[in-house]
Symmetry: C3
């Protein structure tokens, strides 16, 4: 259920990092590989009247796993993104609550 939502990164580059990123996050987080989703968002970014590129911007929606695991997750994501040619990445975490997350009719 960690949802990795990526903006501002080319689709082919997302594909290229996807396997080794999930390999590493699976170790850090300790959850099964198929819990992860990686979403490449299709949006337009605008500045001063024109479409523009942004540095990769990543949101992780997940259940809170504490500062240490979060730090290592952000570091793994940043390292993967920078290894694919970007100089800079921003990553932020949105905490989901068990009582508000449902598989079919049942919440966690």
């Amino acid at each position: 259920m960690p949802q990795i939502i990526i903006k501002g990164m080319e689709l082919d580059k997302v594909k290229a990092i996807s396997t080794s990123l999930v390999d590493e996050l699976q170790q850090i987080i300790g959850c099964p590989r198929d819990y992860f989703t990686i979403e490449a968002v299709v949006s337009s970014f605008i500045m001063d009247g024109q479409q523009t590129e942004i540095s990769p911007l990543v949101e992780i929606k997940w259940f809170d796993r504490g500062q240490d695991i979060q730090d290592r997750t952000a570091a793994a994501i940043s390292r993967h993104i920078r290894s694919s040619g970007y100089s800079h990445a921003e990553t932020f975490f949105t905490v989901l609550e068990n009582s508000k997350y449902y598989e079919n009719e049942t919440h966690y």
Copy 2:
């Protein structure tokens, strides 16, 4: 203002459930029909180097209405999605705060 944000579901299937889903949610939540928005997100999901399909994943952004109404809302969404051919749906709720939600210049 309940915003129903759907990922991983075919647009035609979203259209097909949209009327009866809002009919039911209107009863559960007790708010006018035109308060709802249903958004079908255009994104690419990636796993292991390739584009992939995900099970429908639904986020509801709304003002908190308590666990019971939330449970029934999730159940209605899950039932509608599974009735359109998916075996599994995940639904989660993001709570918006009155003091941070504005109609034009005025917050709730």
Copy 3:
């Protein structure tokens, strides 16, 4: 880092307001121009079986800046959107936490 995420507004209209909106927000918020991102989301909105238009709906993801600056930010956004021909805009704020927001490996 204020992320201005706009749904339901034509791309050309987003472009048309982007310069003066950031000019004004820069004054209100007191942060550098290049901290802002304006994202025009590509989604389909559905009601009663058909694709539909919605009134512009804007989410701001940012660090909390207090009610007064938030009120003035919402007012500036609403005014800009209505000046481009829409009668109504809704704007809501999602607060990001310093300890969960990273530039590369380092959180705020």
